[in-house]
Subunit: 98 residues, 2 copies
């Protein structure tokens, strides 16, 4: 049952929107803000606040990219990839017990 | 990617504490409030508020049990078992894609 305690104590990835962002980023490394908006169908304000929480935790970096026009890109950090991997391992172990 | 949208739109089970309660209840059908407190290591007020949200969604029933002294028991409903099963299936599908 210690896995359940560990599961509920992760306040960064315990939020489904933040976990979904990390799951989408994990194989892609870097995505545009606009793409995340379309994939997750959430509001820009909502996405922005979750990205800020992920950045504060050190899981992503938010960058301004300039090509024809300025865009916002989100990059996963090695810490973010590692912590997401650990969380997925924990989730899989919990699901295997059910 | 529709699975990610479905995942983030479940506001009942999207909360890790509520999911943990349902995961613990699923094979046991009925547990005491006191036991859930010990298993999850959360405060009584916190557990109470999550159980009320689960009861409002129709996933559990909260009952007063009288033996030597009054206790509170939590029972999973068939709707709760069904919805938790569906959510776990979705989670497994998402994890299989990673």
């Amino acid at each position: 049952m210690d896995r359940l305690k560990e599961f509920i104590s992760n306040h960064v990835l315990g939020n489904p929107t933040r976990l979904a962002i990390m799951l989408y980023l994990l194989p892609r490394t870097r995505v545009l803000f606009k793409e995340l908006l379309e994939v997750l169908e959430i509001t820009p304000g909502n996405l922005d606040s979750h990205l800020k929480a992920l950045e504060k935790a050190g899981y992503v970096k938010i960058r301004k990219v300039f090509s024809d026009r300025p865009r916002t890109a989100v990059e996963i950090t090695s810490k973010g990839a590692q912590e997401t991997g650990k969380y997925l391992k924990l989730l899989r172990e919990i699901l295997d017990e059910v």
